[in-house]
Protein backbone atom coordinates (compact mmCIF):
# COMPACT_ATOMS: atom_id res chain seq x y z
CA UNK A 1 0.00 0.00 0.00
CA UNK A 2 1.06 3.59 -0.03
CA UNK A 3 2.17 6.17 2.44
CA UNK A 4 -1.31 7.21 3.42
CA UNK A 5 -2.71 3.72 3.89
CA UNK A 6 -6.13 4.90 2.79
CA UNK A 7 -6.22 3.37 -0.67
CA UNK A 8 -9.09 1.02 -1.37
CA UNK A 9 -8.71 -2.34 -3.14
CA UNK A 10 -8.08 -1.16 -6.70
CA UNK A 11 -9.02 -4.25 -8.52
CA UNK A 12 -12.33 -4.84 -6.76
CA UNK A 13 -14.42 -2.82 -9.16
CA UNK A 14 -13.02 -4.45 -12.29
CA UNK A 15 -14.45 -7.88 -11.66
CA UNK A 16 -17.84 -7.08 -10.22
CA UNK A 17 -19.47 -9.06 -13.06
CA UNK A 18 -21.46 -6.01 -14.03
CA UNK A 19 -21.26 -4.61 -17.51
CA UNK A 20 -20.70 -0.87 -17.81
CA UNK A 21 -23.75 1.35 -18.33
CA UNK A 22 -21.98 4.40 -19.75
CA UNK A 23 -20.38 3.73 -23.15
CA UNK A 24 -18.24 5.64 -25.63
CA UNK A 25 -20.13 7.25 -28.52
CA UNK A 26 -19.88 5.66 -31.97
CA UNK A 27 -17.69 8.59 -33.01
CA UNK A 28 -15.25 7.88 -30.19
CA UNK A 29 -15.20 4.14 -30.87
CA UNK A 30 -14.60 4.76 -34.57
CA UNK A 31 -11.73 7.08 -33.61
CA UNK A 32 -10.23 4.34 -31.45
CA UNK A 33 -10.65 1.60 -34.05
CA UNK A 34 -9.39 3.76 -36.89
CA UNK A 35 -6.38 4.86 -34.86
CA UNK A 36 -7.26 8.56 -34.92
CA UNK A 37 -7.32 9.15 -31.17
CA UNK A 38 -4.28 10.18 -29.17
CA UNK A 39 -2.77 7.65 -26.81
CA UNK A 40 -4.43 8.98 -23.64
CA UNK A 41 -7.95 8.89 -25.11
CA UNK A 42 -7.23 5.45 -26.57
CA UNK A 43 -6.12 4.22 -23.16
CA UNK A 44 -9.39 5.37 -21.59
CA UNK A 45 -11.40 3.64 -24.35
CA UNK A 46 -9.31 0.45 -24.02
CA UNK A 47 -9.98 0.33 -20.26
CA UNK A 48 -13.70 0.53 -21.01
CA UNK A 49 -13.40 -2.16 -23.71
CA UNK A 50 -11.75 -4.47 -21.19
CA UNK A 51 -14.97 -4.32 -19.17
CA UNK A 52 -17.56 -4.15 -21.97
CA UNK A 53 -18.39 -7.03 -24.36
CA UNK A 54 -20.97 -4.91 -26.23
CA UNK A 55 -18.37 -2.33 -27.16
CA UNK A 56 -15.86 -5.02 -28.09
CA UNK A 57 -18.42 -6.34 -30.57
CA UNK A 58 -18.97 -2.82 -31.92
CA UNK A 59 -15.20 -2.39 -32.23
CA UNK A 60 -14.95 -5.63 -34.22
CA UNK A 61 -17.36 -4.14 -36.77
CA UNK A 62 -15.37 -0.90 -36.94
CA UNK A 63 -12.14 -2.79 -37.50
CA UNK A 64 -13.87 -4.81 -40.21
CA UNK A 65 -14.61 -1.48 -41.89
CA UNK A 66 -10.89 -0.70 -41.62
CA UNK A 67 -10.12 -4.04 -43.25
CA UNK A 68 -12.56 -3.44 -46.09
CA UNK A 69 -11.17 0.07 -46.70
CA UNK A 70 -7.60 -1.30 -46.69
CA UNK A 71 -8.60 -4.03 -49.14
CA UNK A 72 -10.17 -1.46 -51.46
CA UNK A 73 -7.16 0.88 -51.54
CA UNK A 74 -5.44 1.08 -54.91
CA UNK A 75 -2.28 -1.06 -54.59
CA UNK A 76 0.78 1.17 -54.61
CA UNK A 77 3.62 -0.32 -56.71
CA UNK A 78 6.57 -1.33 -54.54
CA UNK A 79 9.90 0.27 -55.39
CA UNK A 80 12.54 -1.26 -53.15
CA UNK A 81 10.48 -3.56 -50.96
CA UNK A 82 10.58 -7.20 -52.08
CA UNK A 83 9.23 -10.53 -50.88
CA UNK A 84 12.74 -12.03 -51.03
CA UNK A 85 14.18 -9.38 -48.73
CA UNK A 86 11.27 -9.79 -46.32
CA UNK A 87 11.75 -13.56 -46.16
CA UNK A 88 15.50 -13.03 -45.69
CA UNK A 89 14.76 -10.79 -42.73
CA UNK A 90 12.58 -13.49 -41.19
CA UNK A 91 15.44 -15.98 -41.62
CA UNK A 92 17.95 -13.54 -40.17
CA UNK A 93 15.93 -12.02 -37.34
CA UNK A 94 13.74 -14.94 -36.40
CA UNK A 95 10.14 -15.89 -36.97
CA UNK A 96 8.90 -15.77 -33.42
CA UNK A 97 6.62 -13.10 -32.07
CA UNK A 98 8.31 -10.83 -29.54
CA UNK A 99 7.75 -12.07 -25.99
CA UNK A 100 4.93 -10.46 -24.09
CA UNK A 101 5.78 -8.17 -21.24
CA UNK A 102 5.52 -10.27 -18.13
CA UNK A 103 3.67 -9.17 -15.04
CA UNK A 104 5.91 -8.56 -12.05
CA UNK A 105 4.47 -9.80 -8.72
CA UNK A 106 3.99 -6.29 -7.33
CA UNK A 107 1.88 -5.40 -10.37
CA UNK A 108 -0.86 -7.92 -9.62
CA UNK A 109 -4.06 -6.01 -8.92
CA UNK A 110 -3.11 -3.20 -11.28
CA UNK A 111 -5.11 -3.26 -14.55
CA UNK A 112 -2.99 -4.74 -17.39
CA UNK A 113 -3.48 -1.68 -19.52
CA UNK A 114 -1.98 0.65 -16.90
CA UNK A 115 1.14 -1.39 -16.18
CA UNK A 116 3.23 -0.10 -19.09
CA UNK A 117 2.71 3.42 -17.74
CA UNK A 118 2.94 3.09 -13.98
CA UNK A 119 4.01 -0.45 -13.14
CA UNK A 120 2.11 -0.91 -9.90
CA UNK A 121 -0.65 1.42 -8.72
CA UNK A 122 0.70 1.09 -5.19
CA UNK A 123 3.95 2.77 -6.27
CA UNK A 124 2.42 5.79 -7.99
CA UNK A 125 3.78 9.12 -6.72
CA UNK A 126 0.61 11.08 -5.91
CA UNK A 127 0.60 14.80 -5.86
CA UNK A 128 -1.92 16.77 -3.81
CA UNK A 129 -4.01 19.00 -6.04
CA UNK A 130 -6.73 20.26 -3.72
CA UNK A 131 -8.31 19.06 -0.48
CA UNK A 132 -9.49 15.50 -1.14
CA UNK A 133 -8.00 15.34 -4.64
CA UNK A 134 -4.71 13.78 -5.64
CA UNK A 135 -3.26 13.47 -9.08
CA UNK A 136 -0.59 11.46 -10.86
CA UNK A 137 0.52 12.11 -14.40
CA UNK A 138 0.18 9.06 -16.61
CA UNK A 139 1.04 10.45 -20.01
CA UNK A 140 2.68 13.83 -20.37
CA UNK A 141 1.29 16.20 -22.96
CA UNK A 142 1.95 14.98 -26.49
CA UNK A 143 2.57 16.94 -29.68
CA UNK A 144 -1.12 16.52 -30.53
CA UNK A 145 -2.24 18.16 -27.31
CA UNK A 146 -3.32 14.99 -25.53
CA UNK A 147 -2.56 13.96 -21.98
CA UNK A 148 -3.74 11.53 -19.33
CA UNK A 149 -3.71 11.56 -15.58
CA UNK A 150 -4.99 9.51 -12.69
CA UNK A 151 -7.12 11.19 -10.04
CA UNK A 152 -7.96 9.99 -6.55
CA UNK A 153 -10.96 11.78 -5.18
CA UNK A 154 -11.98 11.38 -1.54
CA UNK A 155 -15.63 10.42 -0.86
CA UNK A 156 -17.97 13.39 -1.06
CA UNK A 157 -15.50 15.68 -2.76
CA UNK A 158 -16.89 17.87 -5.51
CA UNK A 159 -14.60 18.98 -8.31
CA UNK A 160 -15.04 22.55 -9.48
CA UNK A 161 -17.54 23.17 -12.27
CA UNK A 162 -15.62 23.08 -15.49
CA UNK A 163 -16.06 23.22 -19.23
CA UNK A 164 -13.96 21.47 -21.84
CA UNK A 165 -11.68 22.93 -24.42
CA UNK A 166 -11.54 19.70 -26.37
CA UNK A 167 -12.49 16.13 -25.74
CA UNK A 168 -12.29 14.86 -22.18
CA UNK A 169 -12.82 11.26 -21.13
CA UNK A 170 -13.19 10.07 -17.57
CA UNK A 171 -12.89 6.35 -16.97
CA UNK A 172 -13.71 5.05 -13.51
CA UNK A 173 -11.27 2.46 -12.19
CA UNK A 174 -12.70 2.10 -8.68
CA UNK A 175 -15.34 3.80 -6.56
CA UNK A 176 -17.85 6.03 -8.30
CA UNK A 177 -18.77 9.57 -9.13
CA UNK A 178 -21.90 11.36 -10.25
CA UNK A 179 -22.49 14.39 -12.37
CA UNK A 180 -25.49 16.00 -14.03
CA UNK A 181 -25.62 13.13 -16.55
CA UNK A 182 -25.62 10.16 -14.20
CA UNK A 183 -23.68 7.91 -11.90
CA UNK A 184 -20.46 6.29 -13.06
CA UNK A 185 -18.88 3.18 -11.55
CA UNK A 186 -15.90 1.01 -12.50
CA UNK A 187 -15.64 0.53 -16.26
CA UNK A 188 -18.01 3.40 -17.07
CA UNK A 189 -16.73 6.12 -19.36
CA UNK A 190 -17.90 9.73 -19.35
CA UNK A 191 -17.35 11.57 -22.59
CA UNK A 192 -17.42 15.34 -22.53
CA UNK A 193 -16.83 17.50 -25.54
CA UNK A 194 -17.44 20.99 -26.81
CA UNK A 195 -19.29 23.12 -24.34
CA UNK A 196 -20.39 20.49 -21.88
CA UNK A 197 -19.89 21.78 -18.36
CA UNK A 198 -20.12 19.45 -15.47
CA UNK A 199 -19.39 19.08 -11.80
CA UNK A 200 -18.39 15.56 -10.82
CA UNK A 201 -18.85 14.51 -7.21
CA UNK A 202 -17.26 11.39 -5.71
CA UNK A 203 -20.42 9.87 -4.29
CA UNK A 204 -19.63 6.57 -2.61
CA UNK A 205 -18.07 5.71 0.72
CA UNK A 206 -15.08 4.53 -1.26
CA UNK A 207 -12.44 6.76 -2.74
CA UNK A 208 -12.95 7.30 -6.48
CA UNK A 209 -10.00 6.41 -8.68
CA UNK A 210 -10.31 7.48 -12.27
CA UNK A 211 -8.32 8.14 -15.37
CA UNK A 212 -8.86 11.44 -17.13
CA UNK A 213 -7.66 11.83 -20.70
CA UNK A 214 -7.96 14.98 -22.75
CA UNK A 215 -7.19 15.97 -26.27
CA UNK A 216 -7.46 19.51 -27.47
CA UNK A 217 -8.81 20.33 -30.91
CA UNK A 218 -6.37 21.55 -33.53
CA UNK A 219 -6.73 25.21 -32.68
CA UNK A 220 -5.32 24.52 -29.22
CA UNK A 221 -2.16 22.75 -30.27
CA UNK A 222 -0.04 25.88 -30.63
CA UNK A 223 1.73 27.82 -27.92
CA UNK A 224 -1.59 29.13 -26.65
CA UNK A 225 -2.75 25.58 -26.24
CA UNK A 226 0.28 24.69 -24.22
CA UNK A 227 -0.32 27.67 -21.95
CA UNK A 228 -4.03 26.95 -21.62
CA UNK A 229 -4.09 23.20 -21.38
CA UNK A 230 -3.00 22.75 -17.77
CA UNK A 231 -6.24 24.46 -16.77
CA UNK A 232 -8.48 22.50 -19.09
CA UNK A 233 -7.65 19.04 -17.84
CA UNK A 234 -9.39 19.72 -14.58
Amino acid sequence: MTESGEIGPWSSGQSAGRHPQHHPSDALLVGYGAGGLGEGLSLAVALHLAACPECRAALADIQAVGGALLDDLPPEPLERLTLADTLARLDREGCAAPPRRRCRPEEAGTPDLLRPYIGSLAAVPWQRLAPGVRRAELLPRTARGGCAQLLRIAPGTALPHHGHGGLELTLVLAGSFSDELGRYVAGDIAEADGDVRHQPIADSHEECLCLIATEAPLRFTGLMGRLMQPFIGL
Partner: protein
Protein backbone atom coordinates in the same frame (compact mmCIF):
# COMPACT_ATOMS: atom_id res chain seq x y z
CA UNK B 1 7.33 -20.77 -29.09
CA UNK B 2 3.70 -19.76 -29.46
CA UNK B 3 4.05 -19.36 -33.19
CA UNK B 4 4.49 -23.07 -33.77
CA UNK B 5 1.36 -24.22 -32.01
CA UNK B 6 -1.78 -22.51 -33.23
CA UNK B 7 -4.60 -22.08 -30.75
CA UNK B 8 -7.15 -24.84 -30.76
CA UNK B 9 -9.75 -22.47 -32.19
CA UNK B 10 -7.74 -21.71 -35.31
CA UNK B 11 -6.99 -25.39 -35.71
CA UNK B 12 -10.61 -26.41 -35.69
CA UNK B 13 -11.95 -23.55 -37.73
CA UNK B 14 -8.94 -23.13 -39.97
CA UNK B 15 -7.89 -26.66 -40.83
CA UNK B 16 -10.79 -27.28 -43.14
CA UNK B 17 -12.00 -23.94 -44.42
CA UNK B 18 -15.29 -24.14 -46.24
CA UNK B 19 -15.51 -23.52 -49.94
CA UNK B 20 -16.48 -19.88 -49.71
CA UNK B 21 -13.59 -19.06 -47.40
CA UNK B 22 -11.55 -15.97 -48.10
CA UNK B 23 -8.28 -17.03 -49.80
CA UNK B 24 -6.27 -14.55 -47.71
CA UNK B 25 -7.63 -16.09 -44.50
CA UNK B 26 -6.68 -19.56 -45.76
CA UNK B 27 -3.18 -18.27 -46.57
CA UNK B 28 -2.82 -16.84 -43.05
CA UNK B 29 -3.86 -20.14 -41.52
CA UNK B 30 -1.32 -21.95 -43.73
CA UNK B 31 1.43 -19.62 -42.52
CA UNK B 32 0.40 -20.22 -38.90
CA UNK B 33 0.17 -23.99 -39.22
CA UNK B 34 3.12 -24.90 -41.43
CA UNK B 35 5.14 -21.76 -42.06
CA UNK B 36 3.96 -21.96 -45.68
CA UNK B 37 6.11 -19.55 -47.72
CA UNK B 38 3.98 -19.76 -50.85
CA UNK B 39 0.95 -18.77 -48.81
CA UNK B 40 2.99 -15.89 -47.39
CA UNK B 41 3.92 -14.84 -50.93
CA UNK B 42 0.21 -14.55 -51.75
CA UNK B 43 -0.38 -12.47 -48.62
CA UNK B 44 2.59 -10.28 -49.49
CA UNK B 45 1.47 -9.72 -53.08
CA UNK B 46 -1.99 -8.70 -51.94
CA UNK B 47 -1.32 -6.72 -48.78
CA UNK B 48 2.14 -5.13 -49.05
CA UNK B 49 1.13 -2.70 -51.86
CA UNK B 50 -2.13 -1.87 -50.06
CA UNK B 51 -0.43 -1.27 -46.72
CA UNK B 52 2.05 0.98 -48.52
CA UNK B 53 -0.91 2.85 -49.98
CA UNK B 54 -2.42 3.16 -46.47
CA UNK B 55 0.82 4.55 -45.04
CA UNK B 56 1.14 7.06 -47.89
CA UNK B 57 -2.41 8.26 -47.33
CA UNK B 58 -1.58 8.81 -43.66
CA UNK B 59 1.38 11.00 -44.51
CA UNK B 60 4.38 8.66 -44.60
CA UNK B 61 7.07 9.53 -47.16
CA UNK B 62 7.42 6.79 -49.83
CA UNK B 63 10.46 5.01 -48.36
CA UNK B 64 8.97 5.11 -44.86
CA UNK B 65 5.70 3.75 -46.24
CA UNK B 66 7.58 0.77 -47.69
CA UNK B 67 9.46 0.20 -44.42
CA UNK B 68 6.18 0.20 -42.52
CA UNK B 69 4.64 -2.13 -45.11
CA UNK B 70 7.54 -4.52 -44.58
CA UNK B 71 7.22 -4.29 -40.79
CA UNK B 72 3.54 -5.09 -41.20
CA UNK B 73 4.28 -8.18 -43.31
CA UNK B 74 6.93 -9.35 -40.83
CA UNK B 75 4.38 -9.03 -38.03
CA UNK B 76 1.80 -10.89 -40.16
CA UNK B 77 4.18 -13.85 -40.30
CA UNK B 78 5.23 -13.69 -36.66
CA UNK B 79 1.72 -13.28 -35.26
CA UNK B 80 -0.10 -15.55 -37.71
CA UNK B 81 -0.93 -18.03 -34.93
CA UNK B 82 -3.01 -15.34 -33.22
CA UNK B 83 -5.26 -14.94 -36.27
CA UNK B 84 -8.65 -16.59 -35.79
CA UNK B 85 -10.60 -16.84 -39.05
CA UNK B 86 -13.83 -17.29 -37.11
CA UNK B 87 -13.44 -13.86 -35.57
CA UNK B 88 -12.24 -11.61 -38.36
CA UNK B 89 -11.40 -11.40 -42.02
CA UNK B 90 -7.71 -11.47 -42.91
CA UNK B 91 -7.92 -7.86 -44.14
CA UNK B 92 -9.33 -6.77 -40.78
CA UNK B 93 -6.52 -8.44 -38.90
CA UNK B 94 -3.85 -7.00 -41.21
CA UNK B 95 -5.48 -3.58 -40.86
CA UNK B 96 -5.11 -3.64 -37.06
CA UNK B 97 -1.42 -4.57 -37.36
CA UNK B 98 -0.78 -1.82 -39.90
CA UNK B 99 -2.72 0.70 -37.81
CA UNK B 100 -0.68 -0.03 -34.69
CA UNK B 101 2.64 0.11 -36.54
CA UNK B 102 1.57 3.36 -38.16
CA UNK B 103 0.73 4.96 -34.80
CA UNK B 104 4.03 3.74 -33.38
CA UNK B 105 6.11 4.68 -36.41
CA UNK B 106 4.56 7.95 -37.56
CA UNK B 107 3.26 9.34 -34.29
CA UNK B 108 5.60 7.77 -31.74
CA UNK B 109 2.64 6.70 -29.63
CA UNK B 110 1.21 3.38 -28.56
CA UNK B 111 -2.28 2.08 -29.28
CA UNK B 112 -3.41 0.53 -25.98
CA UNK B 113 -5.41 -2.64 -26.59
CA UNK B 114 -7.06 -5.29 -24.49
CA UNK B 115 -4.76 -8.32 -24.74
CA UNK B 116 -5.91 -11.54 -26.38
CA UNK B 117 -5.17 -13.36 -23.14
CA UNK B 118 -7.51 -11.08 -21.22
CA UNK B 119 -10.22 -11.60 -23.82
CA UNK B 120 -9.81 -15.36 -23.83
CA UNK B 121 -11.24 -15.34 -20.30
CA UNK B 122 -14.53 -13.87 -21.49
CA UNK B 123 -17.25 -16.31 -22.45
CA UNK B 124 -19.20 -13.63 -24.26
CA UNK B 125 -16.45 -13.02 -26.81
CA UNK B 126 -17.49 -16.09 -28.74
CA UNK B 127 -16.82 -15.89 -32.45
CA UNK B 128 -19.57 -13.73 -33.81
CA UNK B 129 -19.51 -15.30 -37.24
CA UNK B 130 -21.17 -18.33 -35.70
CA UNK B 131 -24.39 -16.39 -35.42
CA UNK B 132 -25.98 -16.32 -38.83
CA UNK B 133 -23.39 -15.62 -41.46
CA UNK B 134 -20.11 -17.03 -42.56
CA UNK B 135 -17.11 -14.83 -43.18
CA UNK B 136 -17.60 -14.44 -46.91
CA UNK B 137 -21.21 -13.42 -46.48
CA UNK B 138 -20.26 -10.89 -43.81
CA UNK B 139 -17.62 -9.41 -46.10
CA UNK B 140 -20.11 -9.02 -48.95
CA UNK B 141 -22.73 -7.42 -46.73
CA UNK B 142 -20.17 -5.08 -45.17
CA UNK B 143 -19.08 -3.85 -48.58
CA UNK B 144 -22.71 -3.37 -49.56
CA UNK B 145 -23.31 -1.29 -46.44
CA UNK B 146 -20.24 0.85 -47.18
CA UNK B 147 -21.57 1.53 -50.69
CA UNK B 148 -24.92 2.51 -49.19
CA UNK B 149 -23.48 5.25 -47.00
CA UNK B 150 -24.45 8.75 -48.04
CA UNK B 151 -21.53 10.80 -49.42
CA UNK B 152 -21.51 12.81 -46.17
CA UNK B 153 -21.33 9.66 -44.05
CA UNK B 154 -18.66 8.12 -46.27
CA UNK B 155 -16.59 11.30 -45.99
CA UNK B 156 -16.41 11.25 -42.18
CA UNK B 157 -15.71 7.51 -42.18
CA UNK B 158 -12.86 7.98 -44.67
CA UNK B 159 -11.39 10.89 -42.71
CA UNK B 160 -11.55 8.83 -39.53
CA UNK B 161 -9.49 6.05 -41.09
CA UNK B 162 -7.17 8.02 -43.35
CA UNK B 163 -6.57 11.43 -41.78
CA UNK B 164 -5.34 10.47 -38.29
CA UNK B 165 -7.95 12.76 -36.76
CA UNK B 166 -10.40 12.36 -33.88
CA UNK B 167 -13.96 13.54 -34.48
CA UNK B 168 -13.54 17.04 -32.99
CA UNK B 169 -10.65 17.65 -35.39
CA UNK B 170 -12.69 16.25 -38.30
CA UNK B 171 -15.45 18.73 -37.42
CA UNK B 172 -12.89 21.53 -37.54
CA UNK B 173 -11.47 20.38 -40.83
CA UNK B 174 -14.93 20.19 -42.43
CA UNK B 175 -16.09 23.33 -40.66
CA UNK B 176 -19.10 21.46 -39.29
CA UNK B 177 -20.64 21.42 -35.82
CA UNK B 178 -19.23 18.58 -33.73
CA UNK B 179 -22.75 17.17 -33.30
CA UNK B 180 -23.12 16.80 -37.06
CA UNK B 181 -19.93 14.75 -37.37
CA UNK B 182 -20.95 12.60 -34.41
CA UNK B 183 -24.39 11.91 -35.84
CA UNK B 184 -22.99 11.06 -39.28
CA UNK B 185 -20.66 8.51 -37.69
CA UNK B 186 -23.51 7.15 -35.59
CA UNK B 187 -25.76 6.73 -38.62
CA UNK B 188 -22.94 5.15 -40.66
CA UNK B 189 -22.19 2.63 -37.92
CA UNK B 190 -25.91 1.93 -37.54
CA UNK B 191 -26.12 0.94 -41.21
CA UNK B 192 -23.01 -1.23 -40.92
CA UNK B 193 -24.23 -2.99 -37.78
CA UNK B 194 -27.59 -3.60 -39.39
CA UNK B 195 -25.97 -5.13 -42.46
CA UNK B 196 -23.83 -7.38 -40.26
CA UNK B 197 -26.79 -8.38 -38.11
CA UNK B 198 -25.23 -6.81 -35.02
CA UNK B 199 -27.94 -4.33 -34.21
CA UNK B 200 -28.31 -3.83 -30.52
Amino acid sequence: MRGIAPSSSSLTTGAAPDDGADPMSCALVAVAQRGDREAFARLFAHFAPRVKSYMLKLGAPPQRAEDLAQDTMLAVWRKAALFDPAKAEAATWVFTIARNLRIDGLRRERHPEVSDEALAEHEDDRPRADALMDGAQRATRLRGALRDLTPEQAQVVHLSFFADLAHPAIAERLNLPLGTVKSRLRLAMGKIRKALGDES
